[in-house]
């Protein structure tokens, strides 16, 4: 599967190896890993809970991957997104793109993250010393996605 939503952690090396296994057309692999920070909007974050909408989230991610494959000259793309309770330093999201050349692989990786941020149904709730709060969507994420 090129799209997975899971509570378990992922092994970046293993995921990359599996995506490019046996494919001698691949000359470039670009990847991005998002991790949990311990601070957001000037507050200390102790726990981050990620929620998704089962059924729709997987469908939306698959559509974003299809879009990337249509826009860029790439071979394969993988998105793994975690849900559930996470702690600072935990991995949240992985995007891997393979291609013949680096330019399309870099571009597609960035496109996938920018689109995922604004179009994939995930919601973050963080626990701070003031209590739990839902994270607000950022205008800067919309601007990043609008570039494409």
């Amino acid at each position: 599967m090129t799209v997975r939503v899971q509570t378990a952690d992922f092994d970046v090396g293993r995921e990359i190896a599996a995506l490019r296994a046996g494919d001698a057309r691949v000359g470039a692999v670009a990847s991005f890993v998002g991790t949990v920070r311990d601070v957001n909007d000037a507050a200390t974050v102790s726990t981050l809970t990620l929620e998704h909408y089962p059924g729709m989230t997987e469908k939306a991610l698959a559509a974003i991957v299809d879009d990337a494959k249509a826009r860029f000259d790439i071979l394969e793309a993988l998105v793994v997104h975690r849900v559930g309770e996470l702690k600072p330093t935990d991995q949240i999201v992985l995007v891997v793109v393979t291609g013949a050349h680096r330019e399309a692989a870099f571009d597609a990786c960035r496109f996938l993250m920018d689109y995922l941020k604004t179009k994939a149904p995930f919601w973050k709730k963080e626990v701070t010393p003031d209590g739990a709060r839902w994270v607000d969507a950022r205008a800067s994420d919309d601007e990043a996605a609008a570039r494409w």
């Binding site: 998002g34 990620l50 929620e51 998704h52 909408y53 059924g55 729709m56 469908k59 939306a60 997104h81 949240i92 999201v93 993250m113 995922l116 941020k117 604004t118 179009k119 994939a120 149904p121 995930f122 919601w123 973050k124 709730k125 839902w134 994270v135 607000d136 969507a137 950022r138 994420d141």
Partner: protein, 96 residues
């Protein structure tokens, strides 16, 4: 239209509330009776929910960043709503 038991058959949609809105409304979802109009749109369903007042009117007020998905696809306010649809009310997404 009456069904075999003689009671009126009511067209409903399965409404799902996600994340912050689920907590604000205090429910994960409900079976909502559709207004009896020839064509029901997303805007009609939202107006019906808003008419409950209180937190419903506040969270679903015009201008609030609420998105609607029908059967797992994002739709616009003028999209048709049909009996049996899964109608999800989503806050702005914050993944990644």
């Amino acid at each position: 239209m009456p069904d075999a038991s003689g009671s009126p058959r009511i067209a409903t949609v399965d409404v799902v509330y996600l994340a912050r809105l689920r907590e604000a409304f205090g429910t994960t979802g409900e079976a909502l009776a559709l207004p009896s109009l020839p064509l029901v749109t997303v805007a009609d369903v939202l107006a019906q929910l808003r008419s409950r007042g209180g937190v419903w009117a506040a969270e679903l007020a015009h201008g609030r960043a609420v998105r609607i998905a029908i059967n797992h696809s994002m739709v616009a306010l003028d999209a048709p709503v049909r009996a049996g649809d899964e109608f999800a009310v989503l806050p702005p997404v914050t993944g990644g």
